[in-house]
Amino acid sequence: MLTSELRNNVLVVHVTEKRVDASKAPLFKDEMTRCIDDGHHQLVLDLSGVDFVDSSGLGAIVSCLKRLGPRGSLAVAGAKGAVSRLFTLTRMDKVFALHDTVDAAVEQLSA
């Protein structure tokens, strides 16, 4: 459910599913964890193709941030509509750096 590419030493992870919900959260977490454990510690999660995230999906994203811990950064790019509102409603917009575009997120992380 994820594809990734390296840009300026930042791993950009694109979510290819439209929904990150309880049925997809375990796979999402496994694939993200593999990226982190492979040594990628500057990551941008591209949610521009996602139109629905539930609390299980959000919890999986938080769990990836916790796994990364102080050794790196996980920024979120392209969250819109209901997905963006979920981050705001749960105050996760204070936990994650949210960027409108992947380019802006990469620029911030590689600066």
């Binding site: 309880a22 629905f52 539930d54 609390s55 509509g81 209901a82 105050r91």
Partner: protein
């Protein structure tokens, strides 16, 4: 009598997205996009809770969703036959869960957010259990009723 639609799924997390889209479709025209988002999220969280905690992930059990369309509100009922939820959980769930210290990752919740999100997204939430049946009733008021 207000029109009402009943949908039934098997207790399988893979099927929740279908019923969520169906409920959203039924409410289209009555609810604004943000209200429909709130209803869709609440329906998904409620059904996920039933499947994960009520039926402990066991497939082949029933989850019914009844959508009542009133001119000024949408009433959603989630009906299941799992063991009932612990008393008081709905009342205790609140937005306080999200008053965490954002600078301390240990303080940020990874789970247990479903009921709080339902209460934050719906105008009324009531839970009743009895005779082997559980019913979660959620009301979303229409901000700008048609007509």
């Amino acid at each position: 009598m207000a029109p009402s639609i009943s949908l039934l799924i098997d207790s399988d997390l893979d099927k929740v997205a279908h019923i969520a889209r169906a409920v959203r479709g039924v409410c289209t025209g009555l609810l604004a996009a943000e209200e429909a988002d709130a209803v869709e999220l609440s329906v998904v969280e409620a059904i996920n809770n039933v499947i994960k905690h009520g039926y402990h992930g066991q497939p082949g059990q029933d989850v019914q969703v009844i959508v009542g369309l009133h001119p000024d509100r949408v009433v959603i009922e989630i009906v299941d036959h799992a063991p009932p939820m612990q008393a008081g959980l709905i009342e205790q769930a609140s937005e306080d869960l999200f008053s965490f210290d954002a600078t301390n990752l240990d303080d940020v919740p990874e789970g247990g957010m479903g009921l709080a999100l339902i209460r934050m997204n719906m105008d009324e939430v009531e839970y009743s259990a009895g005779s082997g049946e559980n019913r979660l009733r959620m009301v979303k008021r229409v901000e700008a009723p048609a007509g």
